[in-house]
């Protein structure tokens, strides 16, 4: 589904990603871990198509197609979803209106008719139940005055509504208390299928107790320095990152 080959990316003159290789197949969950400043969020932004970054070498293929010429919105139309670490506030635009616009713009790009209002409403109710969201939530301005937990829950709610093929969860666990973490993880697990894939970006092993990855990759100084299964996450939790940094330096 996603194939990243020798990806190098800069912001300004600074090289952040220095040769990333990663392959994600349908049905898989990949976790990307790493210390601060290792390039985790850059990687998610580059996959999603943020223009601040310049790809200097390598490429990203999604379902066999090179993404480099596609804008962020076109990538979204193909089924790539990014759950933001810091979701943006848009005052005056309700959660409902935003999701409705997003769904219908994606449908338009795919040559489909807008989703009938009754079906959309039904889906919203269903997904709200899944994430234990109150209906008053829908008429609030997008992320405006939301608590950290509400923002993250709203991200996963959007993911549930947009039903992407590839979802990248960028530090979805930060700012969540233990109950919210459980609810959000539950939601993500229920959305998981054999057809879609998830990349979880996190600092901590904690989230991976709930969303269990098939693969764990450690990012350090813009490279994946180690890959393994979920036991690698546990190892990191107990030993920290330093041993990997030393290993990478050799």
């Amino acid at each position: 589904m996603l194939k990243i080959t020798n990806l190098h990316a800069n912001i300004g003159d600074k090289e952040i990603l220095k040769g990333i290789n990663l392959e994600v197949k349908p049905g898989e969950i990949h976790a990307i871990m790493g210390p601060n400043g290792s390039g985790k969020s850059t990687l998610s932004s580059v996959i999603a198509g943020r223009e601040d970054y310049e790809i200097t070498a390598g490429h990203i293929d999604f379902e066999g197609e090179d993404l480099s010429d596609l804008d962020a919105d076109e990538r979204a139309h193909k089924g790539i979803f990014l759950s933001f670490q810091y979701p943006v506030e848009i005052p005056g635009v309700t959660v409902t209106n935003f999701i409705k616009t997003a769904i219908n713009e994606i449908r338009k790009a795919r040559g489909q008719e807008p989703m009938p209002a009754n079906i959309m409403l039904k889906q919203m109710r269903e997904k709200m139940g899944l994430l234990e969201i109150d209906s008053a939530f829908l008429s609030r301005s997008l992320n405006t005055g939301f608590s950290g937990g509400e923002k993250k829950r709203n991200e996963i709610f959007q993911m549930a509504m947009l039903d992407p093929k590839l979802a990248i969860l960028d530090e979805t666990d930060s700012g969540l208390d233990i109950d919210a973490l459980r609810i959000v993880s539950n939601g993500v697990n229920k959305l998981k299928s054999e057809k879609n894939a998830i990349i979880v970006i996190t600092h901590y092993q904690r989230l991976l107790d709930y969303i269990v990855p098939d693969f764990v990759h450690v990012l350090h100084q813009g490279r994946i320095v180690k890959s393994g299964d979920k036991s690698l996450a546990h190892e990191l939790e107990s030993k920290g990152y330093d041993w990997l940094k030393e290993e990478a330096a050799l």
């Binding site: 999603a48 198509g49 943020r50 223009e51 601040d52 804008d71 962020a72 919105d73 990538r75 979204a76 139309h77 979803f81 990014l82 933001f84 979701p87 943006v88 848009i90 005052p91 005056g92 635009v93 209106n97 935003f98 616009t101 997003a102 769904i103 713009e105 994606i106 790009a109 301005s141 997008l142 959007q158 947009l162």
Partner: protein, 480 residues
């Protein structure tokens, strides 16, 4: 349920389908302004002597005044001696087909959803079919007539309802009020008059499109609207289709009179030609709009301003009667090289008077937008209250936004609140929308409409839908 699209179709189709004014007088006075010119104007319009005298008096006041310079706008002052103050509405040169029309204009029409025929009509292309408008107008007029509502041109009102005009004209905006108001008083040739009798609730939105004898908006428009005791009226002015005009200077005066327990809702969508992308051309819009509220009366101004090269406009309320209410809801958009200095004045004179000001400025390109507002609490205005919120939204880094709030209170019991914010449409917001599949232009429209929601909610439904589209079009290509 109707979709927004169908509302828009309906609205844009209904606005102009009443055909157009073709019966045009041919004469024109030579350029320049003097007493004789004013006498000629008054005579051409067949006005009574009192009206001629009224104009001449305004002109005398005008001569003592100078063009104001305090507004935060810069332009070359129009040469009044070069303007012909009485010319019958000019027939623009008719074009053979739409191919001859500025393609930019046609794109805008298409985005507003204006039909081909309307596009022709608006851009001055010759048309074969003119919809028969007489019956529609007659039905409309009969319905209003049964209720005693008067809605006609100001010229007709001067002839047909001289007592009402004499009693109220110039009472809210005196002839000596300001340079442009005095000029307007001396030379106005066009405008609307409306009277709602006691206790009558006007059953439809009154729009200038329905007005009898309308021949396009004049250069010096004069509007007088009187809501008698306990009556209600909602009045719509302007339209979203870009209005081109050969006259650069527009100086209108609007006077609203809300007698005891009356309510007037006055909504404007203004889209005068703003000049091209380099700031050439465009209309100067110097408007004086003011209303007076008697006891328990309410006046609510709502405006969406996207046009004009230079705008100078402060719809105001004099809250004279006790418990009266004034409201001002405004969205002012400037793009490219546009300049706008706009806001309101809330003059609290009576006890327990209340006013609300919600102003949303949006600046893009190299434009400059200013909010200028006065809240004045008089010595007898016990328990007066005001709430003002002035927000600015900046797009890009070459535009300017300014806020000039003035507060004068002469009564200790007054409560005046002022809130102001400045924000910028961030790349973060746009990226967030794009990541969800929403393209850049759609994203800007969504963000801007969200920002303006409090104001757009005040507009009548059909107008609001149009205004939303207009905002998006006005700001196209201004980010990125």
């Amino acid at each position: 349920m109707k979709t927004e699209e169908s509302y828009l179709d309906e609205v844009t189709a209904s606005e102009y389908k009443y055909g157009f004014y073709t019966d045009i007088e041919s004469d024109k006075v030579p350029p320049g302004l003097n007493e004789d010119v004013i006498r000629i104007i008054s005579a051409k319009k067949g006005e009574p002597q009192w009206m001629t005298d009224w104009r001449l008096d305004a002109y005398k006041q005008f001569l003592k005044m100078t063009e104001p310079e305090w507004a935060n706008v810069h332009y070359t002052k129009p040469d009044l001696q070069a303007i012909s103050f009485y010319s019958a509405p000019k027939r623009k040169k008719e074009l053979e087909s739409l191919d001859e029309v500025d393609p930019e204009l046609l794109k805008t029409f298409a985005k507003l959803g204006i039909s081909l025929d309307e596009q022709k009509r608006l851009s001055g292309v010759a048309m074969d079919v003119v919809v028969d408008s007489i019956s529609v107008k007659t039905t409309f007029r009969e319905k209003l007539g049964e209720m005693g509502i008067i809605f006609c041109s100001i010229s007709d009102a001067i002839k047909d309802y001289p007592e009402l005009v004499k009693k109220y004209l110039g009472t809210v905006v005196p002839r000596s009020d300001n340079f442009y108001a005095a000029l307007n008083s001396a030379v106005f040739t066009d405008g609307s008059f409306c009277y709602i009798p006691k206790g009558v609730r006007c059953p439809m939105e009154l729009s200038t499109y329905f007005r009898i004898n309308e021949a396009g908006t004049g250069q010096f428009e004069r509007t007088l609207l009187i809501a008698d005791e306990g009556s209600y009226v909602s009045y719509l002015e302007g339209c979203t289709a870009p209005m081109r005009d050969e006259n650069q200077l527009h100086a209108a005066v609007v006077e609203l009179v809300a007698l005891d327990d009356a309510e007037i809702k006055y909504s404007t969508v203004q889209n005068w030609y703003p000049g091209d992308k380099n700031g050439k051309g465009g209309v100067f819009n110097f408007v004086t709009k003011r209303g007076i509220c008697e006891r328990n009366a309410k006046i609510s101004w709502t405006q969406v301003e996207t046009g004009s090269a230079v705008t100078w406009k402060y719809p105001s309320c004099i809250l004279k009667g006790e418990n009266s209410v004034g409201e001002f809801y405004s969205v002012a958009v400037t793009n490219n090289y546009q300049q706008a200095d706009t806001g309101t004045k809330m003059i609290h004179l009576g006890k327990n008077t209340k006013s609300t000001i919600i102003s949303k400025g949006i600046c893009a390109g190299k434009s400059n937008g200013s909010y200028r507002g006065l809240v004045k609490i008089g010595p007898r205005a016990e328990n007066a209250r005001n709430f003002s919120q002035c927000d600015s939204l900046l797009m890009g880094s070459s535009c300017g936004s300014h806020t000039f709030p003035y507060i004068e209170t002469q009564n200790k019991s007054a409560k005046v609140e002022h809130e102001a914010t400045t924000s910028k449409i961030g790349e973060d917001q746009i990226f967030y929308c794009k990541q969800r599949g929403i393209g850049e232009e759609e994203a800007i429209a969504l963000i801007v409409n969200g920002y303006c929601k409090d104001v757009l909610n005040q507009l009548p439904m059909e107008f609001a839908v149009e205004a939303q589209k207009l905002l998006a079009i006005s700001l196209e290509g201004s980010v990125g």
